[in-house]
């Protein structure tokens, strides 16, 4: 390719870097604010470094500061059960990820590599659920969870996405279709049954797509707000996203606890950022797949 340096190319690079900086700098601003003292923020709204560097906001959020200290720093006196919300988010996201990936893979296997009457028709029906917008099923699902007596419980938050999503089945089926048919046939000649073939052969060689789907599912579940807001309202059942929304309105009269809010947001985003740092390439490469195929 031509790599002549032209004004057009320089300009193109400048524009591209503008986009990258506009994407990344707000995250720096979140960190900078989270390390600031609330009272100093107003006077130093321009300073690139934290205003009066302090770990106070993180201590407040994580419950390491006494209510008096928190109040003095401009936070609310009410203690946030941050560790509890963090645990809830972890439990929900992990359970949904394991359940959804396992059950959707099983179904995808039956939809791609087993022969049975009506297979493709039923796959079409399952896939049709992609067309139904989440809001449409959310209200009736709320009633179902309520009549199961699972309102304000973690299982109530998990159940609707624990067994399958149409996308997860579709995603796994695409990969299973690409595995040579001879592999199952050879195993069958050796006397292995479908269950055994699935768990011993197909699932292990699909480790890469399984991991990718797992990461995407974990991120989506971790970030979900609407459904947990409907179903998990008590202290015991709140997940981080819901708690963050409440945290904003919880601040007493006067200015919000900006530093505390940013610290809480950072802690809430941290697991995803770590996951992304480790598996970033996988996530990036999956984007084309989810949209185009």
């Amino acid at each position: 390719m031509r790599t002549r340096i032209t004004w057009g190319r320089v300009l193109a690079w400048v524009v591209l870097w503008f986009f990258v900086l506009a994407t990344v700098l707000p995250f720096y601003w979140m960190l900078r604010t989270a390390l600031s003292d609330n009272h100093a923020l107003a006077a130093q709204s321009f300073s690139l470094l934290p205003a009066d560097l302090t770990f106070g906001p993180f201590e407040r959020v994580l419950g390491l500061a006494t209510p008096e200290e928190a109040m003095a720093e401009g936070g609310s006196g009410a203690s946030l059960s941050f560790w509890l919300y963090l645990r809830n988010s972890l439990v929900v996201a992990t359970a949904v990820t394991v359940g959804q990936v396992l059950f959707s893979s099983m179904a995808a296997y039956a939809f791609s590599r087993l022969t049975w009457p009506g297979r493709d028709v039923w796959f079409g029906v399952f896939l049709g659920a992609l067309l139904v917008p989440p809001i449409f099923t959310a209200l009736p699902n709320f009633l179902t969870i309520k009549s199961l007596g699972l309102l304000n419980t973690l299982p109530g938050i998990m159940l609707p996405s624990l067994f399958m999503t149409p996308f997860a089945i579709f995603f796994m089926r695409q990969f299973f279709l690409g595995i040579p048919k001879e592999i199952d046939e050879a195993a069958m000649i050796d006397g292995a049954q479908p269950w055994r073939i699935f768990f011993r052969i197909i699932l292990p060689i699909s480790a890469a797509p399984v991991t990718t789907l797992g990461i995407l599912t974990f991120i989506n579940t971790w970030n979900d707000y609407f459904w947990p807001l409907l179903v998990g309202q008590t202290e015991e059942s709140k997940v981080l996203t819901v708690a963050l929304g409440v945290f904003r309105s919880q601040t007493p009269q006067g200015a919000p606890d900006w530093a505390g809010l940013m610290a809480a947001s950072l802690v809430a985003a941290l697991p995803i950022v770590i996951l992304y740092a480790v598996f970033g390439r996988r996530v990036i490469n999956s984007i084309g797949f989810s949209g185009i195929k």
Partner: protein
């Protein structure tokens, strides 16, 4: 040894081969069972129940009372509903407009300049962060008094803007925030589409002496059409269901300026206990989404590609 073993091996092979054409119905049903349970209980049943509830008056405490189409008649006369439709449409147009144009530009820049995973990775970062976190971050940066954006606006001598508090700005602000969140994701979708266009076409264009600009309008954009339809269907469907950002920042205000449809549905169901009415509105939202997807397919002639 071999002599005695051979018939046995032959026998098992023969039964296995004979068995293969038979259907594997039972194992298949077993493997589908959990997913089928989830599908029936949490997708199919709620879809039917939602449609039925939209024809009832239901406050969750008693049992639903069938009222026919009354919810829909009420809706037609509900000013707040029509306002919610207007606000949602305005949001969708602004958000999708900014997002699509910028994403195509960004994707073309990446495609022509670099394959860097680091750059693609940073652009995707906002998409991976919860809506709630993104909303709080921008609520802070756009704060009227001490937010960095207004500090900059003030420093260059312009009047400060109450981004979330001024009716004229609220919807555009929320659209802007969500554009920031989705830009990288949308750009990567387009980028994946660009990579499917054969390089030979570009080489031929270069040989013919076509410049970058002409190449983009005459080759890239037309060949990208099928991908753009998909991107639009995905992003428009998502945009119509905007909720998190509004709920965390303005909660629909000031006045009704940012009361989008999904927020109004949520309020009717859970704050006012009008579950039937809320269901009827979600039926309408469903129909709008289906109609929008259908229209996009038709308008952009999704099936046809100029490649072949």
């Amino acid at each position: 040894m071999t002599a005695t073993a051979t018939p046995a091996v032959k026998a098992t092979t023969a039964t296995a081969v004979a068995r293969r054409p038979r259907t594997q119905l039972w194992p298949a049903l077993g493997m589908i069972a959990p997913a089928a349970l989830g599908f029936l209980v949490f997708y199919l049943y709620p879809t039917l129940r939602g449609a039925y509830l939209s024809l009832t008056e239901y406050n969750v405490l008693g049992s639903p009372v069938f009222v026919g189409l009354r919810n829909y008649v009420d809706m037609a006369q509900d000013e707040v509903f029509w306002n919610a439709i207007r606000v949602t449409l305005l949001y969708v147009v602004l958000n999708i407009g900014f997002q699509t144009v910028l994403a195509v530009g960004l994707a073309v820049l990446m495609h022509r300049l670099t394959k860097s995973v680091l750059i693609r990775g940073s652009l995707l970062l906002p998409y991976l962060i919860a809506n709630v976190v993104v909303a709080l971050l921008w609520y802070w940066m756009l704060d009227y008094n001490i937010g960095i954006v207004n500090a900059v606006i003030d420093a260059v001598g312009l009047p400060k803007v109450a981004f979330f508090g001024d009716e004229a700005w609220t919807v555009a602000t929320i659209a802007g925030v969500n554009t920031w969140r989705h830009l990288g994701y949308t750009a990567l979708l387009v980028f994946a589409g660009l990579q499917m266009i054969p390089a030979s076409i570009y080489e031929a264009a270069a040989v013919d002496g076509a410049g970058e600009w002409r190449t983009f309008w005459r080759i890239t954009l037309p060949l990208l059409r099928p991908v753009l339809v998909l991107v639009l269907v995905i992003t428009v469907t998502g945009a119509f269901q905007v909720f998190d950002t509004v709920a965390v920042t303005t909660a629909g205000g000031p006045g009704n300026a940012s009361r989008v449809l999904q927020l109004y549905i949520y309020e009717q169901a859970f704050a006012r206990g009008h579950f039937g009415y809320a269901s009827a509105m979600s039926v309408v939202l469903f129909l709008i989404l289906a109609g929008a997807a259908f229209a996009q397919m038709r308008l952009l002639r999704a099936g046809e590609s100029d490649l072949s």
